[in-house]
Symmetry: C2
Subunit: 118 residues, 2 copies
């Protein structure tokens, strides 16, 4: 018998089991306790928000004892890079629930100008 | 007896009666038949999307026989201006329903560099 940690019938999933997030421009997060927000939100940075990614993938790089560490990538010109990234998901039953609502994760990021090597 | 065109108990409103839309960054549209989308979406333009407005107001400037004409304003530096703007709302019962779902309107816009006078 196999017990799945991903409980598809309840719409919740253990955040630490989420290996990758694929986030599309122009979509909104699922929500149950809170309100939907845009899945991708640029909030500034040295490049402004001049580049708008169509899709961003964030990989779960492991647990630091407090939170999942994410690495986010997108197809963009080398002159830009992500500055600060912050992945937020809706805790299923309460804010710091280790189980999250599926599809509830979103990314806030800053977009910086990459330092050019000489 | 007064009949209100705005039928608050059903969540629908005649689009032509909507005088102003106030649209906030980071929020998503209400939806009933479709999916929520970000209320404000920059989709390019000669300035890229370098400036991210916190709030945009769109005024109903009248009916052109086909659609409502909107004028959208935000607090931004004179060097930027809106290029193309497109307000979309969810028809309540069907796509071209003159009644729309309240809170379902969103704005897609391009952000251009303003021509500088000499």
């Amino acid at each position: 018998m196999v017990f799945f940690k991903v409980e598809s019938w309840t719409g919740r999933v253990l955040l630490r089991d989420v290996q990758v997030l694929t986030l599309y421009q122009g979509r909104c997060t699922n929500s149950r306790r809170t309100s939907p927000v845009p899945v991708l939100q640029c909030v500034g940075g040295t490049a402004g928000c001049v580049f708008v990614p169509r899709v961003v993938q964030c990989l779960n790089k492991g647990w630091n004892g407090v939170d999942v560490q994410w690495e986010c990538k997108t197809d963009m010109d080398q002159k830009y890079r992500f500055g600060r990234i912050e992945v937020s998901c809706e805790g299923y039953h309460y804010p710091i629930d280790p189980y999250i609502l599926k599809g509830s994760c979103g990314l806030e990021y800053t977009l910086d100008l990459a330092a050019t090597g000489t």
